[in-house]
Amino acid sequence: MATHDFAAHAAHAHAAPQGFIRKWVFSLDHKVIGIQYFFLALVAVFTGMFLSLLMRIHLVWPNASIPFIGDIKPETYLSLLTMHGTIMVFFVLTTAPQGGFGNYFLPIQIGAPDMAFPVLNMLSFWTTFLGFIVLVAAFFVTGGAPLHGWTGYAPLSALQSAGPGEGLGADLWIISIAIFCIGALMGALNFITTTLDMRAKGMTLMRMPLTCWAWFITAILGLLAFGVLLSAGILLLMDRNLGTSFFVPLGTVNGVLTGHKGGSPLLWQHLFWFFGHPEVYIAILPAMGLCSQLLSVFSRKPIFGYRAMVYAIMAIGFLGFMVWGHHMFMSGMSPYSAFAFSIMTMGIGVPSAIKTFNWLGTLWRGKIRFSSPMLFAIGFVSLFVVGGISGPFLAQPVLDIYLHETYFVIAHFHLIMGVASIFGIFAATYYWFPKMFGRMMNEPLAKTHFWLTFIGAYAIFMPMHYYGMAAGLRRYSQGTEVAWINALAPIQKFISIAAFITIASQLIFLFNLFWSMFKGTKAVDNPWEATTLEWITATPPPHDNFGGVTPVVHNGPYEYSVPGAPKDFVMQTDPSMGDKDQKKGKH
């Protein structure tokens, strides 16, 4: 049937550009660029995780000397947390789900031969790559990496004299982020144009898989958010090097006048969080889209409430730009605006809750297959719920008075933005690896990896809520000085041990990834019996994705267990249902 036609054509497809450089380095093929983004994020995530390992060691054994690295001083610890946050947020959580999997699968899932602007696509990857190199370079310059945290609050980030690492290291940090913003802006333009202009015949917006909706809305968020961060970064760079005072008021450091006057530290926070909060959704929306997809595929059921899911993604994207002030309840911002930001923030919980209900609704009366991508999708839902319900605590200024800057915040955003997104990335890897590399990943290793990571994530981040409830403060290189924090030391020890085990178990994933690339069993074209367009083409897909044939779409993306159908899934290109979703106007 349709499936076989496409695969046969694809097998005889035109060859990709020859030559190693054009094919694998400066490639214009969105699939190769997607893989490049994926490996960049892989290097970044292991770098960022290594930094967190050093932090976890230091928190429990502050005097321990690390081989090849030496002692971790308080300022070293702060550099580690700054670089950990920056690497993870920008070069992992923004890079892998959108740049990696979005790049590879958005064009295929909408039936396009490539991205709208292949050259721009190549440029956005190499720009991002350059940004990463510049960031890592900050470790190796005089004074080392900056200590101002990934949020870079001025004046700490604006004054060389404010601490070690605030010299060249801080400049490199800002330049790296500015470069990253430029790459992200180019990528966002490409994603938006591709989604709007390159869809195959019959692929109406309301027939797009939820993954595509998520990538599309994420790109819009990126377009609006990264421009603001880029501007803020340039202003900060000017404050640091050209003597301007956008963010620095009259003041002294160590009794020495800074030479600035009239600037506003709160301005930086407004600009940063205007980017920073949408960034949370940039990290999590693709994971939401993917897990919606997987819950449907592996429950063998249509997604529950497709339209509600689409509207929820839009609502999250829209509201995401109106809530940034909830990071600033204690900043000295007007307490009246705190009330407005709080209401909007509680409001954004509504579409998030709708999505959770729909995920549970999708599992309900399904026929669930527990393949490794599905385990990670179910894990995602569990982690999204636990990370989500701490949100309404922090969103209420009255409770944030106490919880702000405690580990409760660390627990909240790591679970919902970090671990849940990472579970999305793992799910995507296990799910799409067969299509990308033509082989299956080892399933027993994948399941072992899931259980260790799932339980490990809870063991690390659940106790952080307790630590925060007891007023344990974040960004403290040692808890020994303040009596009430010192009393909480056993919690830190437990977290560190849990972290060591969880970090070690990521090596299972790494091994599985590379081993399966060469030794995994050969994958068939549609191993998961899914309906979307990437599964009708050859494995791996040819240069133009569909081997010279343009797919025509007849169905929505989630036609599973259709009564009367010969199999329990109906491909999007299968005309046998007669486009009935279009005729009725809705499902």
Partner: protein, 269 residues
């Protein structure tokens, strides 16, 4: 596999909730007038959000087991694209829950942050700098003397560290201390300043936290209702000494407070 998921998710939920319900690690006993209201709102939020957390996780584990693929022994998955009525119902319920919770906390926020301190409140100026806290009292004249950034010298401590201008007559009787001493059951108006970078004045027992921002003088207030020593610490990353930027708030009787202040004045002469 479904059963394992059920057991693991339920166990995690049980253990995770236990430490919250048992309050194994919890807020310190509240010692300010606002603490009771804030703690009550914590409790309400925990009950409501805890219920959502537990129900969602129980359902997730239950569905994973109940609807697992048992081959030919399980029937085909239910073909349904959703239910609009259900979508509307849970949307409205969530709106009521979240907005209602928020509105319930508004009176506390209003009294803490929208209203200023009452006339007659004890004024203390709190100044943060890398990595120390200074507390200044206006003295008998009720006026804080002028400070000038160009006079600041942290190595001098006290008046020198604050850059107090000796030329201003109002500065003569200002009392500067490294320990914050306040009377019990009196409203304390704090005026928060910073010399260099952003710091944050956090007293857990008072349920009080406010950033100190260079260039701003932020007026806040709280009322201690219990005498005793309460530790405070910096809650905003301010540099390499952030972790040791802490101190003691002493809440004493009105009498002891007057005696202490008088003794400080006497020491200056």
């Amino acid at each position: 596999m479904g059963l394992v998921l059920l057991v693991v998710i339920w166990l995690i939920t049980l253990i995770g909730s236990y430490f919250i319900i048992a309050k194994t690690w919890w807020l310190p006993v509240g010692a300010s007038a606002a603490a009771a209201g804030i703690d009550h709102h914590f409790a309400v939020s925990y009950i409501l959000m805890g219920a959502v957390f537990i129900l969602a996780q129980l359902a997730l584990g239950w569905f994973a087991w109940k609807y697992r693929d048992r081959g030919t022994r399980s029937e085909a998955a239910h073909y349904s694209h959703g239910n609009t009525t259900l979508e509307i119902v849970w949307t409205i319920l969530t709106v009521i829950l979240f907005v209602g919770l928020n509105l319930a906390s508004e009176p506390i926020w209003s009294s803490e942050r929208l209203q200023g301190a009452q006339p007659g409140a004890v004024q203390v100026e709190v100044t943060a700098m890398q990595f120390a806290w200074y507390f200044r009292y206006a003295g008998p004249d009720g006026k804080f003397g002028a400070t000038k950034p160009e006079l600041e010298d942290a190595s001098l401590g006290g008046a020198g560290a604050l850059g107090l201008d000796p030329a201003d007559p109002a500065s003569k009787d200002d009392v500067i201390s490294g320990v914050m001493v306040v009377p019990v059951n009196r409203e304390i108006e704090v005026i928060l300043r910073s010399h260099d970078v952003i710091h944050s004045f956090f007293i857990p027992a008072m349920r009080f936290k406010q950033d100190t921002v260079p260039g701003l003088a932020i007026h806040m207030h709280f009322t201690p209702i219990q005498t005793g020593d309460y530790e405070f610490a910096c809650a905003e990353l301010c540099g390499l000494g952030h972790y040791k930027m802490h101190g003691i708030l002493k809440v004493v009787s009105d009498e002891e407070f007057s005696q202490w202040l008088a003794a400080q004045e006497a020491e200056k002469q």
